[in-house]
């Protein structure tokens, strides 16, 4: 790999008529992505796309093991990541790995060695270790505790009972000190911030149980509650581990998707050499090369080159914008057919991304202050339980009992009400619902979003990339009356312009013309049988009049023109087609008495066409991010609960401001971070799926909370009356936890298959007679 070669590649990428535009495989420097092991070996992590089954795993690992210098290649099937290790003496050759994967049929992308996912993995390990310790302790303590219970009703001597109590103490005390740390720390953090979280009553319950048990064992009493304390920790830790692994899994997959959409940037050094770096490492003032078909990684000013930019992910505008030297460009825009050298501008508050991020941060702060179900339950629960314990103490003292009996009963109240079922009631439902949604192609970013989905009565859609598919397609489909389409499609194969990609899909496996050349900002041309074929802008094909006529007929389209020699030019209108089932989904939402709005940044004519097709009467076009957020806020002030569905950078603040939000997986990075959930695939039906899953999850959560309350209503009088034995405490705790967990599992059972009926759309005249979405449903 030599610098002059790369400098040449850089020059070639800029040349107007150059094959480099269609062959983007330049030499690259990948050192920023490498990790050095202690023994001098090099490691790199890849996100791999297209792994479907176990044989893929085998094929990849065997295929890569033979590459020179590769010491090991191991694919993690759970999170779809590939780790490749090179031998210390070998020069790591990333390009060879990428091309080997490509030959096997997998697309891969280098991973920016992440920081926070390491912390997440460490936290998961810590929780699992705590769970293992609590599990070990509770099993062994229970073994001894049951012996004592059996001995108490038969012929156990008091010496033996004391010995068994002390052995339990020796196991339970260190185990609880270690396994309970996540709760103690949480309670302490909460208290320091002036809040009482659910961790506080847990900590109080565990500590008091242990202290009381030690005191009772000292006085040789018949009952000790060591088993209750460790069992409580064991059950609660199960909830925590489930919650953590759900969050980690979603995070991992979201990171994979981000890496596959190439969050990297190509930096041009002063000598013209090219270097690949993660986008997060770009500094203001750096010069970057953006090849045709790539996304612009950072805001900047064009230094060299000219091209068309597709801003649909940034502003929602579907018409391409031409840029040349001196123009500003925004991160997220898709580069058309010319290479651009961009100087990254300082991240001063002027850039679009900064404005979006400021708006988004404010909106997210407001949302994090909102109370979720779990918080409200804690607020009710903590004072009630502590008041019950205090009343018990006062009651026994007033009845003339001694301090010992009174304290024992008060502590028994705290033990039996320890929020075992309550601690599982909500996380268990969240985990099961998230798993069910995951199978339907929805990744949940935030577990508390489920209950917010349940309250939605207004749905706001963005148009570009959300109601429509993110990639353009031919307006009139594959109809080929003149035979021009197949020729134009073959020519389009040589172009990297996003609009040409729509045309290229009609090529049906034909080979590209061998000597086709692409001109930056204009189009592609090829000479076939002495006839010059041109495909590109109206100007390039001399088809201005025809293009204007086609645009008048198809207000939501853009055009791509084709001309063969001197024959009259042919205009292909290209537009972003609606997602499959968009009309059915919008119809179902409207007929379930929800309000549906379209807020778009695109031009009015394009939005009007889509709104008319879907039967949506409330729409607005040409909105800035600030205006979108203002519309959402005014809706929410009027008492509406808004679900925002959007993908663009301009939607990110609105996504954060809305009561709940949803993004397609093709969304801009910032929007993905702001959304509560991401959906995969082309269909819009996940919108119905999340609303439905939210309703069901909220119902199950409320059932669980009511069950926990009923359990406490039964258990508290028993404990206050002094009738609580360790056996009853153990049965009550484990029984209630098991019932709550089993109830939560119902979130999985009923969500399988077709979407159920809260959105039944019978009797709506505008909807087509056969709706595949609801077919087969009773």
């Amino acid at each position: 790999m030599c610098c002059t070669d790369m400098a040449l590649a850089y020059v070639e990428a800029h040349a107007s008529w150059s094959a480099a535009n269609t062959k983007p495989s330049l030499e690259r420097d990948y050192t920023a992505f490498m990790m050095r092991g202690p023994d001098g070996s090099t490691r790199a992590a890849f996100a791999v796309e297209g792994i479907r089954c176990a044989s893929c795993m085998n094929a990849i690992e065997r295929g890569l093991a033979d590459l020179p210098g590769v010491a090991a290649a191991r694919l993690n099937f759970s999170d779809r990541r590939l780790a490749v290790t090179w031998r210390p003496e070998a020069e790591p050759d990333v390009a060879a790995v990428l091309s080997a994967l490509d030959a096997l049929g997998f697309r891969a992308q280098l991973f920016d060695p992440g920081r926070h996912s390491d912390a997440e993995t460490a936290e998961t390990k810590r929780l699992i270790t705590a769970l293992a310790v609590a599990g070990f302790a509770s099993m062994n303590v229970m073994l001894l505790a049951i012996s004592v219970w059996a001995g108490n009703v038969s012929d156990m001597t008091s010496e033996n009972r004391d010995l068994f109590h002390w052995i339990q103490a020796v196991i339970a005390l260190p185990a609880a000190a270690y396994a309970g740390r996540p709760f103690y720390e949480g309670a302490f953090r909460g208290l320091r911030a002036g809040r009482v979280t659910m961790d506080f009553p847990i900590t109080l319950g565990v500590v008091l149980t242990l202290v009381m048990s030690v005191v009772e064992s000292l006085s040789g009493a018949t009952h000790a509650y060591f088993d209750g304390a460790v069992m409580l920790l064991f059950f609660l830790l199960i909830g925590r581990v489930l919650e953590q692994s759900m969050r980690r899994r979603t995070r991992m997959l979201a990171e994979n998707l981000a890496a596959l959409r190439s969050e990297g940037a190509t930096v041009v050094d002063a000598d013209g050499a090219l270097r690949d770096v993660p986008a997060s490492e770009l500094v203001p003032g750096a010069r970057i090369l953006v090849r045709p078909g790539e996304r612009i990684p950072a805001d900047g000013v064009v230094e060299r080159g000219m091209s068309d930019l597709d801003h649909s992910l940034v502003t929602g505008e579907t018409a391409a914008v031409s840029v040349s030297g001196g123009d500003s460009v925004f991160a997220g825009a898709l580069n058309g057919n010319g290479a651009l050298t961009v100087r990254v501008t300082a991240a001063a508050g002027a850039s679009l991304l900064d404005e979006v991020e400021t708006l988004m941060r404010r909106a997210l702060e407001a949302r994090s202050r909102a109370l979720v179900l779990a918080d409200r339950a804690t607020r009710l629960y903590v004072p009630l339980v502590h008041a019950a314990a205090a009343l018990t103490l006062a009651g026994w003292l007033a009845a003339g009992a001694g301090w010992h009996t009174a304290l024992l009963s008060a502590v028994a109240v705290l033990i039996v009400t320890c929020p075992c079922a309550l601690g599982l009631a909500i996380p268990a439902v969240q985990v099961v619902s998230a798993g069910a949604l995951f199978r339907e192609g929805v990744l949940l970013n935030d577990g508390t979003a489920l209950e917010r989905f349940a309250e939605i009565d207004t749905i706001v859609f963005d148009k570009t990339g959300t109601l429509t598919l993110p990639e353009p397609s031919l307006t009139h489909g594959d109809r080929d009356e003149t035979g021009a389409l197949s020729v134009a499609a073959r020519l389009a194969l040589s172009s990297r312009h996003p609009m040409a990609a729509a045309l290229a899909k009609a090529a049906d496996g034909a080979e590209p013309f061998p000597d086709a050349q692409e001109a930056a900002g204009l189009g592609v041309r090829a000479i076939v049988e002495a006839v010059e074929l041109r495909l590109g802008s109206a100007r390039f094909c001399g088809a201005e009049a025809e293009a204007a006529a086609a645009l008048a007929d198809n207000p939501d389209a853009s055009v791509i023109c084709f001309r063969a020699g001197d024959a009259p030019p042919i205009v292909f209108p290209v537009h972003q087609a609606l997602r499959p089932q968009a009309a059915e989904v919008v119809g179902a939402l409207l007929s379930s008495d929800r309000r549906v709005l379209i807020l778009s940044g695109d031009r009015a004519s394009a939005v009007e066409a889509v709104a008319a097709h879907l039967g949506v009467t409330e729409w607005e076009a040409g909105l800035t991010p600030r205006e979108k957020i203002a519309r959402i806020e005014s809706l929410q002030r009027a008492g509406r609960r808004v679900l925002m569905v959007g993908d663009g950078l301009n939607d990110a603040p609105a996504l954060a401001a809305a009561h709940a939000s949803l993004s397609p997986v093709t969304a801009a990075h910032v929007s993905q971070a702001a959304a509560d959930a991401l959906f995969l695939g082309r269909s819009l039906t996940p919108v119905l799926a999340v609303l439905d899953a939210g309703t069901r999850a909220r119902r199950l959560m409320l059932q669980n909370l009511w069950f926990s309350a009923a359990y406490n209503l039964l258990a508290v009088p028993l404990a206050a009356a002094g009738c609580l034995t360790p056996l009853i405490a153990a049965l009550a705790m484990s029984g209630s936890s098991v019932i709550v967990t089993l109830n939560a599992l119902r979130a999985r059972a009923s969500s399988a298959g077709v979407r159920p009926a809260p959105v039944a759309i019978t009797g709506r005249p505008a909807s087509p007679p056969a709706i595949p979405l609801l077919q087969g449903h009773p």
Binding site: A54, S78, A132, F136, M139, N140, L163
Partner: protein, 45 residues
């Protein structure tokens, strides 16, 4: 009574052994890819 002094430590020792075996397996990364492990066992190489 005497038999208890033998059997209880024995039971606890076995349990501890199991706990440490699990912690070792966790630390050596055997739970990192649970889905992949079920297929790897079928590869004959």
């Amino acid at each position: 009574m005497n038999v208890l002094l033998l059997v209880i430590p024995l039971a606890l020792a076995l349990g501890t052994l199991g706990l440490f075996a699990f912690l070792w397996a966790l630390r050596s990364g055997q739970y990192d890819d649970i889905e992949g492990a079920e297929y790897r066992v079928l590869h004959d190489d």
